[in-house]
């Protein structure tokens, strides 16, 4: 028998905030909707920024992309701050247990020196790439238009810092928490020829002023090439020689990438579908950045994968093309 608790019934005078009723119809709004939609100030700004007098504080023209409704760039995960931090805390708990388990066993530190060097060279050095991505997502959060995109970019900014910190932790596994591996990895990032192409591209992204171009360059193209290179191809290669311990740590980044990609793809697909002009623009950005980034990682791939580098890059690029076509974009 169902037990029903009687509560005082007072009929509300409205179901939701007015801008949400206008957008979604006369029904209760979700917590995602309540903060994500139509909350950014959009008119009657008082002063032009001293640091950018050609634009308003929030300004649609800070990207060449044109949208009739900027709130169309939704987050399919429907994260708001609470659901985001709770989800991430849970994921972090799981990886912390995994790391504690490996730490007990002294895993990674028992690997041969050559393998340790390879991890430092690849994953630990990649923390700087992640910091670069933190910078770029931070840019999107600061200068993007509309709460849906800037909220998700703020979360992405935090996520990328988390990834950089996770990779740093892997370094601390290798060096008995002295931080020596972090210094070595930074040296690779700064000076090793195999990393310079990518570092150059990351620095080039730091001076891009169109935030949507950065979304494409960093989150679609660079991640679309670099992440599979490290977390899929290199990880497989390494596993075949040195066992699964490293994979049980990189697994965290792989899972996170899947979650992140859902957002990136939804945003880019929606913007590309908006107009032929948007699609062409995104196509051009993809093409340019891919050209540079793909050639920038040649040396890195060889260093990490040896003879398998060419085949791996072909796989990565084929998969990237499949993804582009799903987004309604042209293959490269």
């Amino acid at each position: 028998m169902a037990v029903e608790i009687k509560t005082a019934g007072v009929k509300p005078v409205r179901t939701a905030f007015e801008h949400l009723i206008a957008r979604f119809g006369d029904k209760p709004a979700t917590r995602y909707q309540e903060f994500a939609f139509d909350t950014q100030p959009k008119t009657n700004f008082h002063y032009r920024p001293l640091w950018d007098p050609d634009h308003e504080i929030y300004d649609k023209s800070k990207t060449a992309i044109v949208m009739a409704d900027w709130y169309a760039l939704k987050d399919p995960r429907q994260f708001y701050y609470g659901s985001y931090t709770i989800a991430r805390a849970k994921q972090q708990d799981a990886i912390d247990q995994q790391m504690a388990f490996l730490d007990e066993r002294g895993a990674l530190s028992e690997l041969p020196d050559q393998a340790k060097r390879l991890i430092t060279f690849s994953l630990v050095a990649l923390r700087h790439y992640e910091w670069g991505s933190n910078t770029n997502n931070n840019f999107i959060a600061a200068y993007g238009y509309g709460t849906t995109i800037t909220q998700a970019a703020t979360m992405a900014m935090c996520d990328r810092l988390a990834m950089a910190q996770h990779l740093s932790r892997i370094g601390l596994f290798l060096d008995d928490k002295t931080g020596v591996s972090l210094d070595e990895a930074k040296e690779f990032w700064m000076s090793h020829s195999a990393w310079q192409g990518l570092r150059r591209q990351v620095e080039n992204m730091f001076v891009v002023s169109d935030w949507f171009e950065l979304m494409v360059a960093q989150n679609l193209v660079a991640d679309g090439i670099v992440c599979p290179l490290i977390f899929q191809e290199f990880d497989r290669h390494f596993r075949s020689k040195h066992g699964n311990d490293l994979s049980s740590l990189t697994n965290y980044s792989v899972r996170w990438q899947k979650d992140f990609t859902r957002w990136v793809d939804a945003v880019i697909k929606t913007a590309a579908a908006e107009s032929a002009e948007n699609r062409e623009l995104i196509d051009t950005w993809v093409k340019n950045w891919h050209l540079h980034i793909n050639s920038a990682i040649d040396g890195l791939a060889s260093e990490l994968l040896g003879d398998e580098a060419t085949a791996s890059l072909t796989t990565i690029n084929n998969e990237f093309n499949v993804r582009l076509s799903k987004l309604g974009l042209s293959a490269i």
Binding site: E18, Y81, A141, C158, R200
Partner: protein
Amino acid sequence: MTKAKKLSLKQNYTMLTKGLDWEPSYQKKEDIFPQLSFEGIKIHNWDNWEDPFRLTIDAYWKYQGEKEKKLYAIIDAFQQNNGQFNVTDARYIQALKIFINAVVGLEYSAWRGFTRLGRELGDASPRIATQMQAIDEMRHATTQTHAISHYNRFFEGMGNAPYQYDHAWYLSIPKSFFDDACSAGPFEFIVAISFAFEYVLTNLVFMPWMSGAAYNGDMSTVSFGFSAQSDEARHMTLGLEVIKFLLEQDPDNVAIVQKWIDKWFWRAYRVLSLVATMMDYMLPKRVMSWDEAWTIYYEENGGALFADLARYGIKPPRNAEVTIKEKGRLSHEMWSIFYANRDVVGFPLWLPSQEEMAWFSEKYPDTFDKYYRPRFEYWQELEDLGTPYTNSTLPQLCQVCQWPCLFTEADDPTEFVHRETEFDGEIFHFCSDGCHQIFEDEPKKYIQAWLPVHQIYMGNCLLPDADPSSPDFNPMAEAIRYMGIKPGVDGGLFKDHSDAKNWEKWTERPANIHQGASTDFVRKTSSQNSK
């Protein structure tokens, strides 16, 4: 293999963020961080920056995630149990309207402002600190919206907060404040918000709202307050770190920072006038008077702070003595203006009851009976006669803070302050010397201000469907509509307002506990309310 050593929280933070950023060699640093030089601030060594948070992002998620779980459990319970009817009376709800329409907008701008700093400051450590504050501010805007959402389903005037923030005349006061900071350089922003606002004055925003919520049974809002308290403590720490860092980097920074402290103290103080009004007039159960709050939180705490900063050559903010002279008058002058202009604001107004005036006499012995009681008693007579006093013209706004020029001379409470200056062939008006001085320092910035009253008179405040050529065109009603305020619904006298009537219908308790019931819904249960 022995178990690896454990790092302390601070060591862990240091390791995980160690050297994350780098000296660029393929692009110039000044192109990557283009906002760092134009303000004249000199930074010689970013390594001297001590990150006060020292939180790795995983620790942040866990800590915050736990707080969010608790907060939403309470908000859910509040909604399920119609907690909105447990607050003291329907006047308290009117304070929440200011909260959602003004404060949420401020939190929103703080979020976006701090994301800019997270990108633009030239070093990993301050960037991580400001990124963390950015997402905290996003949290506050989000959770405040969620905490108040349920009230919106039952009461007027909360349904279109983002629109009102952009359009309503009195909301241009908080909006222009944050637009001012967001349009400034990164160092000015952080001095303005982290130091002048968060460190020096945040208690004056946080304490009245959140204690007010607690005193008046608003479980939803006060739970937000408790949950945000530890965030605020972090932000205040950042404010102090920022100021010390800037002052220690170069002696030339001192004069620039002093100028910003002077400016932002005054700017923030003017915004806080809204809080003064709320504390003294809108909380049915009061926490403390504005006079008391200013004495404790500015004069005593602020006094100690500026004594401490004297060793850097920093002086207390310019015009601080004016705020002390004004503290016995601020809320009363302000409430008078709101009452007189009640038909063009987003919440209804009321006159203080006998009980409340007795409290004011006690809390404001030097000012209330002399200057304000006679005014309120006269206005009460007019209300009782059915001809309530109202102001039918639009007020002159201050070019800087955007309040009506309603304040009185520091040394003469019977004389309105009116300052003006000429710039580029036009006359500009100010509510105070403080605002006038701010204008003189950056006239080209402040002449841009979107002053609502000017805009209305210029005919810029019309919705697309308004027809000025129609015979029954009412310019005032159209301007109110443009501002997102519903004529005949949102403003007016509290006792006639639908919130008051619905409150008594729904709760069978008086909408104004000090005046007693004004509808039959309460009278029929009067035995329960005779106390």
